[in-house]
Symmetry: C3
Subunit: 218 residues, 3 copies
């Protein structure tokens, strides 16, 4: 409990500014990396766009431009989920590409990711108990997305490491959501901000660097 | 007139909850039906997505999350039209696929459907007389969509039954809009809710089952 | 300074209604022109859609449906930028088509255009000094878009006239933004409305007629 008290003293906006700078640098790095890998397997500079959209998202949170207030008085930065609609759909589309899924499956994966994040947005902006309905719908879309993305009956070894990485790291987002003021309010918004930043870093930057160098050789 | 009075006693939210349950079940059924028809003519699990998006839409209305108030004091559930942008574009895209329209025509059909519903959203959220301008723009986009979708000079028999079904059932939506509090206010919002639910059922579930079994044989 | 005073007496809504009528007529003309050029190089009736979306945008501004207030008291019509997300992405997609850019580059150009206009929307709806951050991000996306669109190493003569036309006319939009109440407030919103109308006319209608007749021969 002591930790939460310390964290409560940290302004979330400091964490969001750190996120802004990190993702601005990441956008720059991916922009250069992906420029060199022109005309290869890489469909478009996906990780640059993920980084750039996340930079805008962090800046919007750093400036506290739009928030709601949870029942326990903590602020909720619901805009994050609207930006995830775009950035995470691009990410799962890239994973579907690496997993060599057919085009209809790619469309399904992107749509299910978008619906996961859209329901996550509704669950976050609503502060009454009704938010759990949308958390439920979001979870259904999320499980459907994972199933569509990874249920490759032919069993590709190419994808299995990525599969476990994605399933584990992405599934920590709803865990944070449930423990943060958006859910049960076990820890404060500042703790939530730090945890999401770590998860964003791992799922977007670390992951992006890994697939850029391994699956889209420079 | 007596009927309206009775209907006024019905809480719209009851109707919207019924819609939520119906479309949740429909999503499940389409999800299973379309899973079996894998790798066929079906581009992606379109009717599952239409059902899932409509489930979210009905839940948002059931919880009365965002409404405006018509001049006659009746509530207006304008969020419906934002969800139609996605769900109805997917539906008309599927119809264009069945009608074997070339790709540019599919893009036009989806864009015109989106513009129809977006102008419908503007016409619904605005409560002043200005809303009729957007009703007009919506109608133009709608007629353009029908024309682009069905003006097959080569005259395909394959599409004619579907064509008449779509033209008749879809055109009842603006009729309800005009008679409901969104338009002239001839009947109350509860009546509107029932009529749209029937139309949603016919155009999305009945239609989906028909084309899933006939044009995308399982 | 005298000019601004005169312009201050002009209701912006008059200018927006003029824009509505001009773009409604343009939509009609492009709708007919592009119908005749069926099955040619033209992917879809892009200029009709640009015109139609701009018509809706001008009508929303003419009816003063959603505005914020600048620090100098002048109204800011930020909805314009949301409509530009759609209309300008279609426009740059068409330019990428004429420039025969590969599909991944077309996707990048459309995404970068969308991000330019989305950051422009954030920069416009925010009235505090923080808006300049988003003006900066918008400018970066814009420069990236121009670079992706026109950095054709093989040096196509086909595109060079269009390239200079686009670079010059499109770059006047941020100049107007900086001088208008959205930026430094050198001239009033009515002047901004006139200048944007001229730029919209040149970049959307004049340009559309030029490429429709030259690159998509009727």
């Amino acid at each position: 409990m002591k930790y939460w008290l310390v964290l409560d003293l940290v302004e979330e906006s400091v964490i969001y500014w750190i996120g802004t700078v990190i993702f601005a640098i990441a956008s720059l790095v991916f922009g250069m990396l992906e420029k060199r890998s022109n005309d290869r397997e890489l469909i478009f500079r996906s990780h640059f766009f993920v980084g750039f959209i996340t930079t805008i998202s962090y800046m919007v949170m750093a400036l506290t431009l739009a928030t709601s207030v949870a029942e326990n008085g903590q602020p909720i930065y619901w805009t994050r989920w609207l930006f995830y609609i775009a950035s995470c759909s691009i990410l799962t589309l890239d994973i579907a590409l690496i997993a060599r899924r057919p085009t209809p499956k790619k469309v399904e994966v992107a749509l299910l990711t978008g619906l996961t994040m859209f329901c996550g947005f509704l669950a976050s902006i609503i502060v009454t108990v009704d938010r759990w309905w949308f958390f439920g719908l979001s979870s259904i879309a999320y499980i459907g997305m994972l199933y569509t993305l990874f249920n490759v009956s032919e069993g590709s070894a190419r994808i299995s490491a990525i599969m476990w990485f994605v399933i584990i790291t992405w599934s920590l987002f709803p865990v944070v959501w449930v423990l943060a003021p958006t859910g049960l309010g076990i820890f404060p918004t500042s703790m939530e901000a730090i945890l999401y930043l770590i998860l964003d870093f791992v799922t977007k930057i670390t992951f992006g660097l890994y697939v850029s160098t391994r699956f889209h050789p420079l």
